[in-house]
C-alpha cells in the first residue's frame, strides 16, 4: 500500500472507531434513561417492575385525593376505569391537577403496590390528554368525552 492510501485508511479506521465508540456510549446512556409507561391495568397485573423509574398515568379517581394535614404529602389514585393504582407524592401538584383529570406520574413502585412519585405532570389544556393515558383509556374502552369548551365546525 502506498503511504497516501495508508494514511487515508488510518483516517477512515479512526473515524469508524470514533463513531462506533460514541454510538455505543450514546445507546448505553439511552438505555439507562428510558422510562417505560404502564397503565393501571398493567400495574395491577404485576407487569411493572419494582424500584425502577417508570411512568404511570390515568384519570385521577374522584374523591381519592387525601392530604396529610402536616406536610405536603398527598395520596391519590389514578384509574383507566378497569383498575386503579395508588400514587404517593410529596410536593406541589401542578395547576391542572384535579379529580377527574388525566395525569402522568413518574416514580417507582414500592413493595405495597403504591407508586412513589417524584413528579406529577398534568397538561395545560383541559381537553388535552397525555397520549399514553388516552390510549390506555381507549384500550379499556373507557374514553371520556371532553368536558371543556371547544367549537367545531
Amino acid at each position: 500500500m502506498n503511504p497516501k492510501r495508508k494514511k487515508r485508511l488510518m483516517i477512515v479506521l479512526f473515524i469508524v472507531a470514533g463513531v462506533g465508540v460514541s454510538v455505543g456510549l450514546t445507546l448505553y446512556a439511552l438505555s439507562q434513561n428510558i422510562n417505560l409507561f404502564y397503565s393501571p391495568t398493567q400495574i395491577a397485573k404485576g407487569e411493572a417492575p419494582l424500584n425502577t423509574r417508570i411512568r404511570a398515568g390515568g384519570m385521577v379517581v374522584e374523591g381519592s385525593v387525601k392530604r396529610d394535614p402536616k406536610s405536603l404529602k398527598v395520596e391519590f389514585a389514578v384509574t383507566d376505569f378497569e383498575n386503579s393504582v395508588p400514587i404517593v407524592y410529596s410536593g406541589i401538584l401542578p395547576d391542572l391537577f384535579r379529580e377527574g383529570q388525566g395525569i402522568v406520574a413518574q416514580g417507582e413502585m414500592d413493595a405495597e403496590g403504591k407508586l412513589q412519585a417524584v413528579e406529577v405532570l398534568a397538561k395545560h389544556d383541559e381537553n388535552y390528554m397525555p397520549p399514553e393515558v388516552a390510549e390506555a383509556l381507549e384500550k379499556a374502552g373507557k374514553m371520556p368525552k371532553p368536558q371543556g369548551q371547544e367549537f367545531n365546525k
Binding site: 450514546t26 439511552l30 409507561f37 406541589i92 397538561k123 367549537f151
Partner: protein, 657 residues
Amino acid sequence: MIPELGTYALTLALCLSVLLAVIPLIGAQAGNLLWISFSRPLATGVFAFTAISFVILTHAFLVNDFSVSYVANNSNTALPWFYRISAVWGGHEGSLLLWVLTLAGWTVAVAWKSRDLPADILGRVMGVMGIVLTGFMMFVLFTSSPFERLLPNAPVQGADLNPLLQDIGLIIHPPMLYMGYVGFSVAFAFAIAALLSGRLDAAWARWSRPWTNVAWAFLTLGIALGSWWAYYELGWGGWWFWDPVENASLMPWLVGTALVHSLAVTEKRGVFKSWTVLLAIFAFSLSLLGTFLVRSGVLTSVHAFASDPERGFFLLMFLAITVGGSLLLYSFRASEVKSESSFSLVSRETMLLVNNVLLTVICFTVLLGTLYPLFVDAMGLGKLSVGPPYFNALTMPVGALLMFFLGIGAVTRWRRQDLGSLLKQLIAPIILAVVLGVGTLSFRTEGATVWTYVGVILAYWLLLMALTDMLNRVRRRGSSVWENLRKLPRSYYGMQFAHLGVAVLAVGIAMVSAFDEQRDLRMAPGDKETVGNYTFIFEGAKHFEGPNYTSDIGTLRVFYKGEPYDVMYPEKRLYTARGIVMTEAALDPGLFRDLYVALGEELENGAWAIRLQFKPYVRWLWLGGLMMTFGGLLAATDPRYRKQARREQKKMEAARA
C-alpha cells in the same frame, strides 16, 4: 365577508408562490433575464397578499368575530386587546399563518436586498423560496385554514386564549423563533441554488453568510425567550426541560451554529464546501422536522395542544420531498466540488472542523433521544420517555470539549501554525483559568460538582483566550492600540460578543445547576422559612378579581440577613372562561441571583403550599443568549459584505463590456 377575503388573499398568495417557484427557475436555467426579473414583483406580491390575510385575521380577533372558528376557540371578549393580537398566533392555524408570513417576509427581503447578486443565482434562490412557500401555503389552505366559519351557529362568547399564552413572553417568543426557523430556508435556498448552478465558491458563501447569521441570531433569541418564559410562567423555576419541543428548536440551532462557522471557512479559505452545503440542507430540514414534531401532535409535550393525523402526514411528505430532493441533487453535484486550498493539522480550519464535528455530535444525540420514543411507539414496542439525565450526560462533556477547542480556535491561524508557538500561547491562560475558576468557587463548595468547576474554568478560559486574541491583533504593527481596535472589522466584534455569550451562558448553567435552592413548604400565615441569607414570612393570601380571571394573591415579607428587604406577591389565577388555574410566580430578579416564590394550592385554615427558590446567576443564561444574538446581528451587518458584492459586480460589468 371579511374573513372570506382573508382566504381569498391567501389563495392569491399561493397562486403567486407557484409562479415564483416556476418562472425564475426556468428563467435561470434558460438564461432568460426577463423571466428572472419576474422574481422581485412576484415575491412582493406573495408577501403583500399574505400580509393582507394576516391583517384580516388580526382584525377578526380585534372585533371579536366569533363566527370564525379559530377566533372562537382562541379569544374572548374579556381578553385585553394586546393578547387578542398575540392570540392570532396562539393556536395551530394562526401560528402557521405567521410561519408563512415570516417566510414571505424573508423571501421579499432577499429579493430586494440582493441587487448585487448575479441574475441566475437570484432566480434560483427565488425559485427555491417559491417552492417552499408553495408547500406551506398549501398546508395552511388545505389542512389548517384559520378562516373557517362557524355558521349559522356562531357563539356569542369565545373559549378564550389558553391562559398560559396570555403573557408578554408569548407575544414575542413565537415570532422570534419563527424568524430563525424560517430564516434557515434562505441558507437552504442559497445552497440549492449553488448546487443547481454548479458555482459553489467563496462568493456563494459570502452571499449566504449575512442571511444565515441573521436567521441564527433570531433562533438564538427565540430559544432564549422561550426558556425565560418557561422559567417564570410555566416551569416553577426550571429553565430547560429537554422537552421534545425544546429539542426540536435546539437541533436546527446546533446545526445552524455549525453552518455559521463552516460558511466562514468556505468563504475565507474555499474548503469544506460540500460539507457547508450539507449543513445548510440539514439546518432547514431540522427546522421542518421541528415544525412536524410540534404541529403533528406526535409528541407528549406542553406544546402539543391538538393532534390531527392529516396535518402530520402532509408535513411528513413535505419533509421527505425536501430532504430527499435536496440530498439527491447533492449526491449528483457534490462530487464536482473541489477544494480551493489545503490546510495542515494545526490550523484554524482544523479547529473549526472540530467545532463542526462536536456540534453535529450533540445534535445527533439530541435527535436520537427525541425520536427514539416515537420510533419505539411506532414499532408498537411500548410507551417510553427519555429522561433529562440522558441529555445531560451526553451534552455536557461534548459541550465542554467544544468550549475548550473554541478557546484554542480563537488564537489559531488560518492554513497552518507551528504547534510550539500555539502551545506557548495556551499554557498561561490554561493555568490562569484553572486558578481563577477554583478560586472563584472556593467561596462556596457545597453543592458544586466536577461540572461546576468545568463550567466556570472554561468560562474563564474563553474570556482569557478572547483577550489573548485581541492583544495579538492590537499589538500588531506600529499604529496605536486604539487605532488598531477601531480597524478591526465589525464581524470580528460580533464573533467576540457571541463567544463571550457562550462563556456567560456556561457560568449561568454551572452556577444555577449547582447552587440553586428549592423548598416546597406548607405555610400557614405567620410561618417563617430561611433560604440562604433570605428569610421569608408568609402573611396569608387574599382574593382579587382580574379582567378575565379571579385570583388569590399571597404576601410574603422577605428579610435579608434580618433586615427588611422586599415584599413578594405570588399569585394563583383562575381563568374563568376555560376554568384553568395558573400560577403567577413572584420574582425578585437580580444579576447574581433571583428570588422565586410560587403559590401551590390552598390547604385548609389559610395555609398554602408554597415553593421558595433561590436561583443564583440564572439571568446569565439569557444574558448569554442575548449576547450571542447581538454578536450574530453585528457580524451580519458588517459593511464588508455589501462592499465586496459591489466590487464583484463592477468586475463582472467590466468583463462584459
